[in-house]
């Protein structure tokens, strides 16, 4: 059983807190991911599973799998079992459209999802929760719709295949079969269940639950996991499985979905979870260091997809927190502190070559390589990435967005 008493999360600071609204480590330290997996009741994505993915897809597993960025799952093994038998699945991921300034952290879930689409040759639905942003961030309806379309352009630029991808915004698409599922889900979730899953107690103000949008928020992430929500895509395939790449702080929403699914006659969605929280302010990808913030109000805390080569070089050289020692002599003697070094951390996300990364870590950690060299390599890697993204983004026209968002069948979705 997924949902049990273990899931109610204590809210005092002596325990770490991870839920969709808050992420805080124990006593201000680092998040203990093993404990988190234990607490949530999901599984570790171990090497044998990664090997299995390699065998099934006949290609090298994505860098995020190899480096443990996506590190936990629910039922991924079952999905692979079914896949081996010829039973396919579809992917579902989403984004709450926010300010247009996208940084590399925002792209991570999409880069991984694109890999999954290509490797397994399966269709994908992408949900833009413009309604949620409209309500929670107090944007006008028009503004949130506009942002949704702008974000869609950056998402498309990540390289999704239009013959296998359906992008939709809540304002455009909610209704019909989708809405029917929303109501079905809402009827299944008791107050107690919601409280148990989200760790609300009798002490929390009723606004958190009674505010109608929260009810919608509870069911809106769930509904795209059910193929009957997309009758134009999956007619008659009510048992088609769904795999959801997401950040682990979203686990509670999907635990609830998994609980509800069998009761509605649907398959439980499977999850593949990342340790990286794109929306998190204090982020492991902040240029300024582990506890630094990564926010639009400080453009130097992150690399943006609109940064020029010069800006990237400048930001890395000036602002990326270095684990190198203060003097060359000291550095040669004791080596760099890889734990806090931001360039190495970035390389572990974005440098595809395992051998090269190991080499850099060894040389830098033992003092033979200097910070400048590491930063130079990082600048190359990121510049190439951002350039590629920019070029692709420039080719995304409004017509292309319309095509991706059109409610149309996808006849070659499994090819």
């Amino acid at each position: 059983m997924d949902v049990d008493k273990k899931d109610s999360i204590a809210s005092d600071s002596s325990e770490q807190v991870v839920n969709p609204w808050e992420v805080a480590a124990k006593d201000g330290g680092k998040i203990d991911y093993d404990k988190l997996i234990d607490q949530f009741g999901c599984q570790r994505l171990d090497d044998s599973l990664i090997d299995r993915v390699q065998r099934l897809t006949s290609r090298q597993p994505h860098v995020f799998l190899r480096r443990g960025v996506f590190f936990a799952h629910r039922d991924f093994n079952d999905v692979l079992d079914a896949y081996e038998r010829g039973d396919k699945f579809y992917l579902y991921t989403g984004r709450g459209p926010s300010s247009e300034a996208l940084h590399l952290g925002h792209l991570i879930p999409f880069m991984f999802t694109k890999y999954l689409q290509e490797a397994f040759k399966v269709p994908l639905v992408i949900q833009l929760t413009d309604d949620e942003k409209c309500m929670w961030k107090n944007l006008s309806v028009e503004e949130s719709q506009r942002l949704a379309r702008e974000n869609a352009k950056d998402i498309i630029a990540c390289g999704f295949d239009v013959t296998k991808t359906f992008i939709f915004s809540d304002f455009d698409y909610v209704g019909g079969a989708f809405y029917k599922n929303m109501v079905k889900v809402a009827k299944c979730v008791t107050l107690n269940k919601a409280m148990g899953i989200f760790g609300f107690s009798g002490e929390d103000h009723i606004g958190k639950l009674s505010f109608p949008p929260v009810q919608a928020c509870l069911s809106v992430p769930a509904v795209p996991s059910f193929p009957s929500s997309f009758p134009h895509l999956f007619p008659g395939k009510d048992k088609l499985r769904c795999l959801i790449p997401c950040a682990i702080d979203q686990d509670p929403y999907f635990r609830m979905t998994r609980d509800v699914a069998p009761r509605l006659g649907y398959s439980k969605p499977a999850l593949i979870e990342s340790s990286f929280f794109p929306a998190l302010q204090a982020s492991i990808l902040s240029l300024l260091g582990e506890n630094g913030k990564m926010s639009a109000s400080d453009p130097n805390s992150a690399i943006y997809v609109t940064d020029t080569a010069k800006e990237i070089k400048n930001k890395i050289n000036r602002y990326a927190f270095s684990g190198g020692q203060d003097s060359i002599e000291k550095h040669r003697e004791i080596g760099a502190n890889l734990e806090v070094d931001i360039p190495v951390k970035y390389l572990s996300f974005f440098l595809d070559d395992d051998t090269e990364l190991e080499h850099i870590k060894k040389e830098y950690g033992e003092g033979r390589m200097l910070t400048g060299e590491v930063k130079k390599r990082l600048t190359e890697v990121l510049t190439e990435m951002v350039e590629r993204h920019r070029m692709a983004r420039a080719a995304v026209t409004d017509e292309m967005v319309d095509a991706f968002m059109a409610v149309r069948p996808l006849p070659s979705m499994f090819e």
Partner: protein, 307 residues
């Protein structure tokens, strides 16, 4: 070419918009204009033609004493702190079809300016009359904002008046208040061969007070033009089979030249596969997406078969 001043004035008359006309020698700055048109006729305006990093353009028309802080404006538009700067001269002629010293709200009458966002100082509304150039800098006209609104409406535009001196907080929970006025389409303006800086310092395009347009100075306008050239060629690569093949061969030969020395052929082939597969797949997907989108659009426009 673009709308002429006579054309515009005739249109104003057709719409029965009341205005007064003042002819004078061509003027490039507000100071010069003030010599010929006294403030009793109306409030003089300063007009900025601006561009952001994504090739979107804006006309900001303000009272001469309104402080326009480019950093604040940039943030309020959701472009970050240094996201907006003066537009280059060729954009002035390409998009607004007016000469230097002639930026005016009326320039949006041109089809070429359809994606330019027009932001007006709300202080204009308190004035009996405001003064603008009617597409030519040897004439000024004064009219009430209601007249301006009527004109804008006639060309299908909404008048947008904003408090240009406001400095609201912009952050995670306070979205940029002017972001909705950012155009949804960017415009690529072809480069001019010669590029001299500060052509605009003498002109009315510069804000009258001391604040430099881009405080967190990113160097040259050249960067902006290089970007639009990149974007232009990007579109072609994904649309045109020859350009697509050229791009692939360029990348392949570049890799061959850099890695090919002394490597045995098998190892080289391996390197090619490893290094180029993901990049070329990405290119191919974008090519496919472009073709599909064009087909999709054609589908929406096509007429049903005759029975």
């Amino acid at each position: 070419m673009g709308f002429s001043k006579d054309h515009l004035l005739a249109r104003l008359q057709e719409l029965q918009i009341d205005y007064s006309k003042y002819e004078h020698p061509p003027v490039l700055t507000v100071e010069e204009q003030a010599k010929y048109v006294s403030s009793s006729e109306g409030a003089l305006s300063k007009n900025l033609f601006l561009k952001d990093k994504k090739n979107r353009y804006y006309i900001v028309s303000a009272m001469t004493d309104t402080k326009v802080d480019m950093k604040v404006l940039s943030q309020r538009l959701g472009l970050g702190k240094g996201g907006i700067r003066m537009a280059p001269e060729e954009a002035l002629s390409e998009l607004l079809q007016v000469s230097l010293g002639c930026v005016t709200p009326f320039a949006v009458v041109n089809e070429s300016a359809r994606d330019v966002s027009l932001l007006l100082d709300q202080k204009f509304k308190n004035q009996t009359r405001c003064i603008f150039h009617p597409l030519s800098n040897d004439v000024s006209i004064s009219l009430n904002t209601l007249g301006l609104d009527k004109f804008l409406q006639s060309i299908g535009r909404d008048s947008v008046y904003i408090d240009l001196e406001a400095n609201p907080v912009v952050g995670k929970d306070q979205p940029p208040d002017l972001a909705v006025y950012v155009p949804s389409n960017s415009v690529v303006v072809p480069e001019l061969p010669t590029k001299t800086a500060s052509i605009q310092t003498a002109s009315k395009n510069v804000s009258a007070e001391k604040t430099k347009p881009v405080a967190s100075a990113k160097p040259s306008k050249l960067a902006g033009n290089v970007k639009s050239a990149v974007e232009d060629s990007a579109l072609l690569v994904f649309k045109n089979p020859e350009k697509f093949v050229e791009e692939i061969l360029d990348k392949t030969t570049a890799l061959l030249l850099s890695e090919g020395k002394g490597e045995n052929v098998e190892a080289l082939a391996e390197t090619f596969r490893k290094r180029l597969t993901s990049e070329f797949t990405h290119l191919a997907v974008m090519y496919k997406n472009t073709a599909y989108s064009q087909g999709f659009y054609a589908g929406t426009q096509s007429q049903p078969k005759r029975p």
